[in-house]
Point group: C2
Chain length 343, copies 2
């Protein structure tokens, strides 16, 4: 497929939708390119990596830190990688976040691109130029915003994706539908995960549609001053509980979306929460989990780096229409207590 080009500020990103890994040979100069991936992806797709200089990292968010960055940079120096080279992150969100960050700081910035290997990566993490690492308990505390040169989609890489990661990705897909796309919401309601896993054409369309939703939101607001905040639907509470209860990202934001739906009903007259909760449930996602609200609120405050004043909570006006709702932390806490099922 020919590339579609999208611009973010003054950067252009070429998207290769529903394409093949082998196309990479046409996008980059193979002997001046280093691939970065993790052990899981590498082992599941060894034949694809043949002939490519590849750095293989340990998998998981626990390695999305400065130590990994330092180790990769030392390897790049040892390989003699210079400013003319390209780094390609082949993996999920952790790998693309790391690769984008390393490429942005190595020799003050070299070219990079991504081959996302998870649903979450395809529709969300690889898009928008946010990259970086965690610092201890603080997620994405360090990083920069810089767009990749290209995104290459090869859906055959999803063969190795564990069930749990499919569910994670669909949490973001349902989020997109809830905040921006009522028609997508309806489409999702009449299918399930098994349908999309079996039906390649439907999956390819779904991935492209969702990548475009995220892309358009970011294009209009690269530095998150307005509309991009909508992408945080479910994430304010979700991020807070993800670490406390060791939840997967998808499950955490699904719970966040369910309770945000409750708040939406209370605060802005949203009337479709049953449909949203049913859809989350239909795709294997948790909703009304019991939580320790006081503890979650503590983490939420730390995550927002605020102890007082207002924050922006993302609510729904209806399915397909997210809104930014400004609320003081003081008012938010009792409201959360009134809707969250207390542990």
């Amino acid at each position: 497929m020919p590339a579609k080009t999208f611009t973010f500020g003054k950067s252009s990103v070429n998207y290769y939708f529903n394409d093949k890994f082998a196309t990479l040979k046409k996008i980059v100069v193979p002997n001046n390119t280093v691939l970065i991936t993790d052990e899981n992806v590498y082992e599941a797709h060894q034949s694809k990596f043949k002939g490519w200089d590849t750095i293989v990292l340990k998998p998981g968010e626990a390695y999305k830190n400065q130590q990994t960055v330092d180790e990769v940079i030392v390897q790049l120096i040892q390989r003699g990688v210079d400013r003319s080279a390209t780094l390609v992150g082949v993996g999920g969100g952790v790998i693309t976040d790391l690769t984008g960050y390393i490429a942005s700081i190595y020799m003050r910035g070299i070219r990079f691109g991504f081959v996302p290997t998870s649903v979450l990566g395809l529709v969300d993490a690889s898009i928008g130029g946010k990259n970086g690492v965690d610092l201890g308990v603080y997620k994405n505390m360090v990083g920069i915003i810089r767009q990749p040169a290209f995104l290459l989609h090869d859906l055959s890489l999803l063969i190795s994706l564990p069930e749990k990661e499919w569910v994670n990705g669909f949490a973001e897909i349902i989020k997109h539908a809830a905040i921006k796309d009522a028609e997508l919401f309806k489409e999702l309601s009449v299918h399930d995960l098994a349908y999309y896993r079996k039906n390649k054409t439907a999956l390819a369309k779904l991935i492209e549609r969702n990548a475009l939703i995220k892309t358009k939101v970011v294009q209009n607001d690269e530095f998150e001053k307005g509309d991009r905040k909508l992408l945080n639907f479910g994430h304010t509470l979700g991020h807070a509980i993800e670490n406390i209860y060791d939840l997967s990202h998808g499950q955490a934001i699904s719970i966040g979306m369910a309770y945000a739906a409750e708040l939406s009903e209370k605060l802005v007259g949203y009337k479709e929460k049953e449909k949203l909760v049913a859809l989350l449930d239909q795709y294997g996602l948790t909703t009304y989990t019991k939580l320790d609200v006081d503890q979650a609120f503590e983490i939420l405050i730390k995550d927002k780096k605020k102890t007082a004043g207002d924050i922006h909570y993302i609510l729904l006006k209806k399915n397909g229409k997210g809104i930014t709702y400004q609320i003081s932390l003081k008012k938010l806490k009792p409201l959360l207590k009134s809707v969250i099922h207390q542990l």
Copy 2:
């Protein structure tokens, strides 16, 4: 003095020439600003820092590394510094390089500005948006290019600057004259360091003139594809010998300039090397030092991350006119051997 605004790509930088430290209160919100400085500057100017939240680092290039970055970031988190804050680097090149880098990656980038406290900082290091840290023996291996929001000059901060650092700064000033400004070259020739240290008006004019030379070069070529390379005059050999012989930056590039003058005579018909060498000498700078050429060439190659092919060596056509000269590493080595006094 009112600020002068210069644009670099889509960034605007406000320059406050020959101003006062106290002006900082008008540029940033004091209780949402963190100053970063080193022990030397802090102890010499304690009264200026009163009332400012300040992080004080150990002085020296040895601390321009990722560990210092990590430590400062942890301190910023502990202080609850958020995206709305400003970081201000008050110091020489090490402090401004660190501050610019930390501000560029903390929470994916916050606002920053500089108050340079050395001649080198005022006329060179603080200008142009290059920032970053060293990785072991590799200088500036990690970093990004991002412009500060402002540069505030208070020349009274130079009171505490050691003699050696004055000489370092004048090496870059002479470099500017040699590559870009024949009139400045003449002015420098009729004065000496003592003159500028005594004569505040002349010093202020000299600093502004040199800051503008660097600024214009960078404005025309922010990402060093052309004219900005001229600023490397004296630096190709200079960087290589700086570490080997533990030279100050100014002494190293002065030696680099003297031998580049010899190469210029051989390769492009430059006829004024005696004047350049006399000027360097006049400002306390070393010129024809004996060197181990083989060793220096090894480091030069590593520094350029090349083992073969061409590099750009900066030569002089005449005083005031630098040029970029493309030469293969293979040809460069015997040429260097023919001009450098062998240790």
